[in-house]
Each structure stands twice: as C-alpha cells, then as structure tokens.
Symmetry: C2
Subunit: 404 residues, 2 copies
C-alpha cells in the first residue's frame, strides 16, 4: 500500500549524514582520547568572540525598565516598529538605501529569512539558482518549496560569480538567484564590478523573459570584512528586485538567539504585494514573530559588532602560514572561512589524511565544488598557532615544499 | 502568461483580513477618541500576567555565569540536552509518561511545534482533521503542507469533541487529528471520558484502515487550569501515536520569546523514524535551533507558572456576572477564554452591536462555529469590573433579562 508513516523528503533530511557534524563529533571523540589541546578543529562556523558588552547592558536595563508583559509579549508579526525603524535608519545612514521600516520584516535568523523569502515567491515549476561554492542548506530551503535548485559552477580562479556560465544556464523558469557575499565557504567578497555585471545580466534576462528575476542577497557576514579596501555594496542600490536576508548571528555573535530580518527593496516592482507574500509565508511556516527581547536588543545595538579584529588576526596568521608552507589559499576578505586547495584530487581523502595530523577540515564537495577544503577560523588564535606545525607536516607528507 | 510574481497562497495569507487584528486596531482608535479606560477590549489572547520572577533571576545569573559564546551560541538542532532532560523529567514526574530527552525536540513556540510536526508527517493527498471550534491557524498550517484540512462540527451542548460526527467523517486518507485542550476559543477541557472514547475510536479506525492515525495534542494551555477537579490527562498515556506540541508562551508568560517543544511519544510506532522526520522538517522550514538563552531559562524553570490565580479571578468575575445578566456562557475550566452565545443569530452583527457599548468581542465564525463570541479574559480585573455595566446594558438591549 502507498501509506507513508512520514514525509519521505523530511525523513531523508532528518537522517542525512552531515560531513561537518560528523567531523565535529569525531573531534570530540579524539579530544577525549588525546586532549582537547591536541586536536585542531576547523570544522564549525560558529562565532568565537563574545557579543558586544552593550548587548548584555541592553538586556539588563530592559529587564529593569520594561514591564515583563510588554518585554516578553508578542510583537506584531512583521516585528516591533521601533526595531524596524532603527534598522532602516542604520542601513540608510551607511548605504543611502532609502529603506523604510515598512520594508523590513523581522525574522528568527538567516535561515528563516531565506525560507520565508523563498516560500513567498517560489511556485511549483519555478527555478532558483545560486553560485558554487554555496552554503548547502540553500538546496534544502529551495527544494522544500517544490521549486528546482540549480547551481552555477564555480570560477575556481578567483571565486567571483561565474557569469558566463550563469548566462548560459539562466532560463525562463528562473525566478530567483541567491548570492552570498562575503561568501561561505570561501570568504571571498564579490567585487563591485562582478556584482554590477551580474545585475546588468539579470536585468537583460528579465527583460528577455518578460518577468522579474529576484535577487536574494544572503548577508549574515556583511559586517565581517577585514580590509579597508574591501567594500560590500548594498544590493538594493544595484538592482531593484532585491530581497536582503540578514542575521545578527555573526555581527552581534548571537547565533543561538535567532534574530534577523528581510528587506523587501522599496524599489521592487509590486513591493507591497511581495511584502504581503513574505508576511503570508512567515505565517504559513509558523514564525509568529521574531524573539521579542532580542528585537529590543537589536534596536539598541544596530551598527555595533562583536570584536571582529580577532577574526582578522586569525585570518592573517593562518593565511600567511599556509601560503608559506606551499598551500594555495583563496584570500578571504571577509566572513571567517579560508578556502584552501586540497593537496590531492579527492578533497574528502585529503581531509582524512589531515586527520592523521589532528587537523579537522571540511571537504568542499558539500559546497558544490570539488578539490578544496574549508577552514573555519572562528577559533582561538592559540589553537591556530598550535596547529601550524601540523599543517606544515601535512604539506610535507604530500611533497609540497613552501618557502619556510 | 502564467508567471506569478509571488506565491498566490502566500499572498492571500499575507493579505487576509483578520477579525481579531481588526478588532484590536479598532480598539486602539476608539481608545484615542474616548480614553483607554472606556474601551473594553476582550479581543486578544495575550498573557496579561508577568513571567515568574525566577525567569528574570535565571536570565541575570546566566548572563553573569555563562560565557557569552556558549550562552548565545547555536545549540544542536534538537535543542540542548540539559533542557530536554529537565523537560522530560518534569513531564515524567507529573504524568509518569516515560519520556526521555531524546523524545523531545525544542521549537520556536507552539506554532513552530505544529508546523514542524505537520510537515514531518503530512504528504500530498493526506487529510488532517480537527474539532470545531478551533484555533484558525490550524487550517493555515495544514494547508501549507499540501494536505487537506477537515473540521468536525462542534457539539454546541458542551463543546466536548463531537465523536459521532468524527466517526462518520474520518477516512482512510486521515493521517492526523489535532486536538486542543484546554481549548481555544472555549476554555473547555475535554473530559477523560471523552478523550478515552476518542482514542479508542482512533485505534479502531487505524486498525480498520491499516495504518496509524497520529494524534497531535496542541497544549499551550495545559497549565492554565482553575479547578482542582479539572484534570488534563497526558495524551501519550492514552494513545501511543501521539505528538505533544507545547509552548511556554502561556505557562511562563513568554509568548514573544518563541520557546516550546514537541514530544514524539516513546510508544509511537517507528518512534525514531518519526523523530528523524521532525528533525528534517525543522531543517526544511528554517528553524536552526530554539532560542538558546530561553532554552537555558526553561531548563531552570520547568514546572513553574506565571501567577494564573489572576486569570481564575477574572474568569469567576466575568462568568458569574454574565450568567446573572442572562447570557449563556460555556463554563471554562482552563485557558483564558470565555465562550458566550451571541444574543442574535449572526455573531458578527452581535459583535458590532456590542461595540456600541465599547465591548470588543470576537465572533466565533473564524473558529469554525457560528453563533458565539469569544472573550479573552487575560486582561486586568479592573477592566472587567468596569465593563460589567456595558454587558448588562447590551443584554437589556436584546431584551434579555437576568436574575440581577
């Protein structure tokens, strides 16, 4: 008979092995065997610096000054007006984006920003594209809507968006494209030139197909940028039909608190209709409102960031050392990931070899790109320093010889 | 052409008028005109008593004692183990349910508990049933999965589950039934007799159809019970294939903080498979983890409740007065709602008439049952006292004459 005890796709997702989780769990077992200080775990993209002190200051005074029923009560589904206003003002002051509070929808973090946006726009038969390498949950979120997910292959020379391949692959079914800059897993920031060329291409194709193509900018790493020369343009300024999906997980180091937002660009065609669809999708998915205390905390801390100088220090230390040992590293301008070419063709095999030196790395295959590994450097600087001899020995084991 | 700018069902949901919201907004406009103290707003089911003091005590000591990176970091997707353990222990100590931490999945509140559970089990072609009157978002959540939503008509004599109608309507397509006790909008607690008869019927029909029928117990009001004689049996003890969907919104007065859980009964057939499907559904819908600080707060406050004696006082005051004015009230044993028969056939027209006396009530039509109004008595006792003469005049306007 055809009865299914549960939804087969949900079961498959729930049972799917995760390389990252498996690596992390291996690390815990190994730490129990040989001591935590002897295991060099670069597998997890979890912020390693505390929230700014002002976050706890806000929480403390809010608990004192605001009535419990108001503080912990429901906000409207779109989010508290003062929070949306503070965010809009902050975005406008930095990017001149002309956004108003009514263009913002508060969410339970970046994943929710994406699932709500995707659910609002994608219908059966639609296609959503992204550029490799990409955060693997994009596939999960898109396919959960019933739409088709298509990946543009990576440009492995510089990991900018591969526009020639995109132009060939984009189709009349393409309703949306997700981009992620600064990028997970490469740390690369798409250049303004690359972004402008991409947006021009989107406009051209939208006109050719006779319907809008939505740009979904997944931006949890927007503030994690380490070089004054590196600029992350604000996408609504470059392309009208843009949704910005944001989260405070990284900028305020609050990943567990699940707080973020969606911007429905005021310049979007049928902006009010799309905003209403976002509200409908949030409702259908069961997001009643974003966490209320954190909405107030955000209102008081917009524009602040955790101390990202630690990530910069880690990046410089790791990048320079690995380059000197002979690894080919993609220079990360932002986020907290380093993308390194594996020293053998099979990145998974290379990661297993690295484990012999107690180095826990993630192969790039699950990011839709072969032959590289991702190192999350949101770890202690001390661990990086301790790990460097292991990286050197690993390179030597492959006969790679650096300058050092 | 067939291109749709957004998902039509999501747009419809986002644009759908809400009687409750409209009533609430009318109340705000009216309060600006004649003064807040002269408007008697019974429209919203928002807790009106503060969180227990121990919640803020927990928050304060957690901010002091736990490292920020841990406190606000991601937990595992299923929730922190100590929180799940504390909840399981509390449930077991009260109900002897034999639940373990691994049967619990932490969620962002009751709505998320429902959307995740429904998404885990419902496939296209499946049917999910509920009993009128019911919380209207059930329809939204079920239909978002693609399944069919079917409502069993109310038994308006006592608002217990209408089992003869259920037995006629249940079909081989029925995969799940949502029940809600204490009930929104009636405040009625289903009796143990009614529940046992229902579970026996489910078992009989499951055997007849050759497949399980899941019971989804939506229990945000479990602890809001006012009479020692009123008992809310724990459903996993009565029926093996049970999911319990819980939220701390009402018990701890934290509705805006979005924290709750799902219990996948350990007695469920294929319990591990169903639990995995729940994990997959949480992932697909974009729930990365339940808010991390609140998970720790819950672990320290399981079994505590906000001061519900205020709701009891409100219930007694309102119920007794309205009965004495000649209204037919359904006696509420729990939750914070009073269900009252409208004094004319059309409940919406009756609510408009009530507005002439500054009484803001919600017609029962949106709860799937005609001819009644819902009064949410999670308000100040003072407002109830001030409102009583208006209720009396309203009854008199309909020629209803009470004992008073």
């Amino acid at each position: 008979m055809s009865f299914k005890s549960c939804h087969p796709a949900m079961l498959a997702l729930g049972q799917a092995p995760s390389v990252i989780r498996e690596t992390f769990e291996y690390g815990n077992r190994r730490a129990a065997e040989i001591g935590r200080e002897n295991v060099f775990d670069f597998s997890l993209g979890n912020p390693s610096v505390p929230a700014p002190g002002s976050v706890h200051d806000s929480m403390t005074h809010l608990m004192q000054d605001v009535d419990s029923v108001l503080l912990h009560g429901y906000t409207s589904a779109i989010g508290a007006e003062p929070t949306r206003k503070a965010i809009a003002d902050d975005i406008n002051s930095r990017y001149g984006a002309g956004i108003s509070a009514s263009d913002i929808y508060m969410t339970c973090g970046a994943a929710a920003s994406l699932t709500v946006t995707l659910r609002a726009i994608l219908c059966d038969g639609d296609e959503c594209m992204t550029f490799a390498p990409f955060f693997p949950e994009y596939r999960v979120f898109v396919e959960a809507t019933g739409a088709k997910f298509t990946v543009v292959p990576a440009d492995t020379t510089n990991f900018q968006m591969n526009l020639p391949a995109f132009e060939e692959m984009v189709s009349p079914e393409t309703k949306a494209v997700i981009i992620n800059t600064p990028n997970n897993p490469t740390g690369v920031i798409y250049t303004e030139e690359n972004l402008r060329a991409f947006c021009a291409l989107l406009r051209k194709k939208a006109e050719e197909f006779g319907h809008p193509i939505y740009l979904i900018a997944d931006e949890p790493y927007r503030e994690l940028v380490y070089d004054a020369s590196a600029v992350v343009p604000y996408l609504t300024n470059l392309y009208d039909n843009t949704f910005v999906c944001y989260s405070y997980s990284k900028s305020l180091s609050l990943p567990g608190e699940r707080i973020g937002y969606i911007v429905v660009s005021p310049k979007m065609q049928e902006n009010r209709m799309l905003y209403a669809a976002v509200c409908g999708a949030g409702r259908a998915l069961g997001f009643v409102c974003a966490p209320s205390l954190m909405q107030r905390v955000v209102a008081e801390n917009v524009g602040k960031t955790a101390d990202i100088s630690i990530y910069r220090k880690n990046r410089d230390l790791l990048y320079e050392a690995l380059q000197s040992y002979g690894y080919r590293c993609i220079h990360p301008d932002g986020a907290f990931y380093l993308f390194v070419e594996a020293l053998e063709e099979d990145a998974a095999a290379f990661c297993l070899k690295a484990r012999e030196y107690e180095l826990l790395l993630v192969p790039s295959d699950s990011f839709g790109c072969k032959g590289f590994v991702r190192l999350a450097y949101c770890v202690t600087t001390e661990m990086i320093t301790r790990s460097l001899p292991a990286f050197k020995k690993l390179a030597e084991a492959y006969g790679v010889c650096g300058e050092a």
